[in-house]
């Protein structure tokens, strides 16, 4: 008897199939319902959309908000920032499109009930950096999941989509997807007029050097299995912006993105001897990349280059200095 011989096969037909129920998938489901009032919209997720994707645990900041209503930044400012930070390897049209729509999305989140911190003096959203705003984001995902559940015709939890299906008659048209229930092993065939891949990226391809129990682990969601790349690549989709990779190391005694620590709490890094080290690598980096090293902000990859060179020179590990950050009780809450 074969492994799957006692499993059922389920067929689901839909107008719009959304693969992945994280922030992007929930957003796509909501958007699809806005434009297609009578369509059958199906969202498929390998976990439970209430707490799934890279925002399952909540977040303390929204890392991209223009503030066009207060003329803080305009979409073209964001494109310039991204072009500089990624040293030119950027699809400016895509960056612009995200930037011009993000404010409306954030305003909807606030209307739906996401607590966003405000600057007591200006009444504007509390900035953590030039682009980031601070939120009380423990229920970020449950709030967005609620909107998606209201919008979807059906949500299928615990179904892992493994392949896209191609139309047999019309060339180059995706006609659905197949997957299986991770609990029962039942096979699912989704047939749809339109398919949106909103699955996750890839964790643990490149591993940080953390040792002991944290060995090799990033802070990024361990369940991100690269479906967002594998599904389209297998059916011949052209991928874009794959030059940039990010490996999210964990830092000792803490666990999460370091953005708020550096930007809001004003922590800084030192080498093992308590020395500032970035300026030591200035000439070296300048010889490699020219005037990018003089730009403000210095591209993230160049700051990381200094970090790696310093470790290779035997003056690691690099430490984040936090002792001055926690003097203010409000900032301590943010830090925790």
């Amino acid at each position: 008897m074969g492994l799957f011989s006692r499993k059922k096969t389920h067929f689901v037909d839909a107008d719009v199939l959304v693969i992945g129920g994280g922030m992007a998938g929930c957003g796509a489901t909501y958007e699809a319902r806005h434009w297609g009032r009578d369509l059958k919209i199906v969202c498929v997720e390998k976990a439970n959309i209430e707490r799934s994707g890279a925002v399952a645990q909540g977040l303390y900041a929204i890392n991209c908000y223009m503030g066009m209503q207060w003329d803080e930044n305009q979409p073209e400012d964001h494109v310039r920032y991204a072009r500089n930070d990624l040293m030119g390897l950027v699809r400016e049209d895509l960056g612009y499109d995200i930037a011009r729509h993000v404010d409306a999305t954030v305003h909807k989140f606030e209307e739906w009930g996401l607590p966003i911190m405000r600057d007591p003096k200006t009444g504007r959203y509390q900035r953590e950096g030039k682009w980031q705003i601070m939120i009380h984001g423990e229920s970020y995902k449950p709030i967005v999941a609620e909107a998606a559940r209201k919008a979807a015709t059906e949500v299928y939890n615990r179904i892992m989509v493994t392949h896209l299906l191609m139309d047999t008659k019309k060339k180059k048209r995706v006609a659905g997807a197949v997957g299986f229930n991770v609990r029962t092993g039942d096979f699912y065939v989704f047939r749809a007029k339109a398919v949106i891949v909103a699955a996750g990226g890839a964790s643990h391809i490149y591993k940080p050097r953390s040792v002991g129990e944290g060995m090799g682990r990033t802070w990024y969601a361990p369940w991100s299995s690269a479906s967002a790349y594998a599904l389209p690549i297998e059916v011949g989709a052209k991928m874009t912006q794959m030059e940039n990779r990010i490996v999210l190391t964990r830092f000792k005694d803490g666990y999460g993105p370091v953005g708020a620590y550096f930007l809001h709490l004003k922590t800084y890094t030192q080498n093992a001897y308590g020395e500032e080290y970035e300026s030591r690598w200035y000439e070296n980096t300048k010889a490699l990349v020219g005037d990018y090293v003089d730009r403000h902000p210095v591209p993230t990859c160049l700051r990381n280059h200094a970090f790696l060179e310093e470790v290779k020179a035997g003056r690691g590990p690099i430490r984040m200095v936090t002792k001055e950050a926690f003097q203010d009780p409000h900032k301590e809450t943010v830090g925790w």
């Binding site: 909807k108 009930g113 996401l114 423990e138 969601a221």
Partner: protein, 154 residues
Amino acid sequence: MPTFVYMTRCDGCGHCVDICPSDIMHIDKTYRRAFNIEPNMCWECYSCVKACPQNAIDVRGYADFAPLGHSVRVLREPEKGTISWKVKFRNGHEKDFVSPIRTTDWGSIPSPAELPPPSEEDFKSQILAHEPDALNIKGSLPVLARDRLKKGVI
């Protein structure tokens, strides 16, 4: 910092199994209690800890970083719209943090289908749902103008 279950508090209700994004909280078939089947794939996201009606799930610190004898406990109260954290250090020092999690009632978000439908012109435009109103700006959605981009870096 994987999760673990206090077997005497767990009643095997399965809320943690239902919510775990990694699908690693399972019910032991013999003892009918929850346990973490794969600590290496635990993200310590606390989804199961918050979902447990018996407060039976805890998260331990990494043995090589975190001092023994500490505890980090959380109480999520959706009906009050708050989350409370209690952090105990091994020297007895305690810290308490309370944050809001939601400003509206649970279930209050309307389906987009209950809101006014987009017009014919909207379908031909570049706007997304609720734009341009939700942008809170005077005028319409910004459109890419080539000459405004290539002005160097910030």
